[in-house]
C-alpha cells in the first residue's frame, strides 16, 4: 500500500450558529486504505464528510481531496468522490436501473458505457433480479446495496460511506462488509467509513480515527492506539473497549 495521502485536512473548523461542529480537525487518509471514522452521534462526522465533498464551506482551515480543494473545485471533487449518505435518498418512482442511469447521465457517462457498467454493477451487488422493481419496494439492505452500485457506476476513486450498515440484519451487514472490502481490494478505492459497528470496523479498517465533540481524539492503526492507551497489543483488547476508554476520557 502506498502512503500517498488521498484525503488531507488541516485545522478544519466548522461553526454552526456559534457552536463548533468540527474543531481544528487535522487528519489524513492514505491511498487504498479503509479509514474507520468513529465517534458518537453528533460528533461532526457527517459535517466533515460534507466539507470534504464541497457541500458545506468550512469556517476555517483547509481540506484536500486528491490534491483538490473541495471549497474551490467542488465539481471536480464531486466527480471523483462517491458519497453514500446516511439515509439513502433514492427516487422511489424509479427502478434500480433508471436510478443508476440518471446518476450516470449526471456524471457525463455515455449511454453505452453506462449500460455496461450498470449491468455489471447490479450483478455485483446482487440486485440484477430486482432491477425492474420500483425503489419504493426495496428493503433497507437492497437500498444500501444500490448505493454501492452507484459507487461502481461512478467508478469513484474515493468513497465516503456514512453508516452503511445502519439498521441492517446480520446477513445484510455481512454482505455489506464484503462489498466494501471488495471496493477496496478490486477497485482500489480509498474508503472513509463512518460507522458505529465497532466489531466490523475492527475487522476491515486499516486505520481508525475517533472523533468526539468535533475533535479528533485519536488516529492511527489499532495496534498503535491500543498501545497508546493500554500498553498492550491488539489481541488483548477489542476496539469497543478502546473506543469506550476514549469516550469516557473525553
Amino acid at each position: 500500500m502506498s502512503t500517498e495521502a488521498v484525503i488531507e485536512t488541516q485545522e478544519l473548523t466548522k461553526i454552526y450558529n456559534g457552536q463548533a461542529a468540527v474543531e481544528n480537525l487535522s487528519f489524513s487518509v492514505n491511498a487504498g486504505e479503509i479509514f474507520g471514522f468513529l465517534g458518537p452521534n453528533g460528533a461532526g462526522k457527517t459535517t466533515t464528510l460534507l466539507m470534504l465533498l464541497g457541500l458545506t464551506e468550512p469556517t476555517s482551515g483547509s481540506a484536500k481531496v486528491l490534491g483538490m480543494d473541495p471549497a474551490r473545485e467542488p465539481i471536480k471533487v464531486k466527480s471523483v468522490i462517491g458519497y453514500m449518505q446516511e439515509n439513502m435518498g433514492f427516487y422511489g418512482d424509479l427502478n434500480a436501473r433508471q436510478m443508476l442511469q440518471f446518476i450516470a447521465e449526471l456524471n457525463d457517462i455515455t449511454a453505452d458505457a453506462a449500460e455496461e457498467r450498470i449491468t455489471a454493477a447490479l450483478q455485483a451487488v446482487g440486485l440484477a433480479e430486482e432491477q425492474n422493481k420500483k425503489i419504493t419496494a426495496y428493503s433497507r439492505g437492497m437500498r444500501q446495496r444500490l448505493g454501492i452500485a452507484e459507487l461502481l457506476i461512478k467508478d469513484s476513486k474515493v468513497a465516503f460511506l456514512d453508516e452503511p450498515t445502519l439498521g441492517l440484519d446480520p446477513d445484510g451487514t455481512n454482505r455489506m462488509i464484503e462489498l466494501i472490502q471488495g471496493l477496496c481490494r478490486d477497485k482500489k478505492m480509498t474508503i472513509l467509513l463512518s460507522s458505529h459497528m465497532l466489531h466490523q470496523v475492527q475487522k476491515i479498517c486499516h486505520r481508525i480515527g475517533i472523533m468526539i465533540r468535533g475533535r479528533m481524539v485519536a488516529q492511527g492503526d489499532m495496534d498503535h492506539l491500543a498501545e497508546e492507551k493500554f500498553g498492550v497489543g491488539k489481541e488483548q483488547y477489542t476496539l469497543e473497549e478502546l473506543y469506550m476508554k476514549y469516550f469516557q476520557e473525553a
Binding site: Y16, T46, T47, L50, L53, L55, T56, I75, K76, K78, S79, I81, Y83, Q85, N87, M88, G89, F90, Y91, G92, D93, F102, I103, E105, L106, N107, D108
Partner: protein
Amino acid sequence: MRGIKTIIKKELADHFASYRFTIIFALIAMISLITAYMVGLNIRNELEGVAKPQFIFLMLFTSSGALFSLVQFVAFFGPLVGLILGFDTINRERSEGTLSKLLSQPIYRDVVINGKFLAGVVLITVMMVSIVLVITGLGLIVLGIIPGLEEIWRIVIYLVISIIYISFWLGVAILFSILFRSTATSALAALAVWIFFSFFVSLGANILADALAAEPADTSMESAMRRANIVRAFILTSPMELYTDATTTIIDPTRKSARSAITMGAGPLENLSMARFAGPLPLLQSILIVLPYIISLIALTVVCFAISYTVFMRQEIRSL
C-alpha cells in the same frame, strides 16, 4: 450547463406520470372547452343578421360565457397552475433525502433550480398551446370563420405572455419551496400570495388612494385624476394586473382602456361598441403598449430567481 438536460428530462418524466399534472390539465382543458363552446354559441347568436365586425375570432377569448372569459380565466387560475407545479420542488427532495444525493453529483446547485424551472416552463407551454389550439379548433367549427393572419399573430403573442405569466408564478412557488422546509407550509404561503394579489391589491389600492388623495368633498377633475393615478400605480405592482392589462390590449384590439364604464340598460352589442374604438389598434401599436408590461413580468420573475439562488446557495445541506 452540465447535467441540466438530465434534470429537465427527469422532471418532465415525473410530471407527465404524476396524477397532479393529469388532474390540473384535465380540469383546465374541460373548463376552457366548455367556456369556448358557450362563448362561440353566444357570438353566433348575437351576430345573426348583423355585419360581422373585425377580429371576431379573438372574441372567442375575450367575451365571457357563463361566468368569465377565457382570458380572465387564465389570469385568475393560471397562477394556481404555476403554484401547484412548483410548491414542493426543492423541499420534497429535501425531505426524501434525494437533494443531497443530487448535489453530491458533479453538478452546480443552480443547475438543479434551473432544470426544474425549465421543465415546468415546458409543461406550461404544452398546456397553454394545446388549450389554445383546442379552442381555436372549436371556434372554427362553431363560428365557421377562419382567423386572419393578424389574429393568429395576436393569439401567438397572447400565448407567449401567458406562458411568461404562469412561469412567474412557478418561480414564486419554487422560491417558497426553498424557503420553507415543509411542503404544506410552502403551499399555503404560495396560496396566500396568490390570494393577496388577486383580491386584496385592488381593494387596498382604493383604500390607499382614498387616504392619500381625496378630500371627499373635492369632486374636481384634478382630484379624480390624481386618485385614479394612485390606484393605477399601486395596482400595477400586482402581476395579475400586469398580465390582464397586457393581454387584453393584445387580444382585444378595439378596446379603449382597461377599465371602461359600463352603461346600464344597453344591449350587448351597444355595450360593446361604447367601450371600443371604431377602428382597431394596429398590431404593432398593441405590441408597443404591452411591451413594458411584459418586461415588468420578466423582471419580477428574475427577482424571484435572484432570491431563490441566493437563499439556495447559502443553505446548508447538512440540516436535512
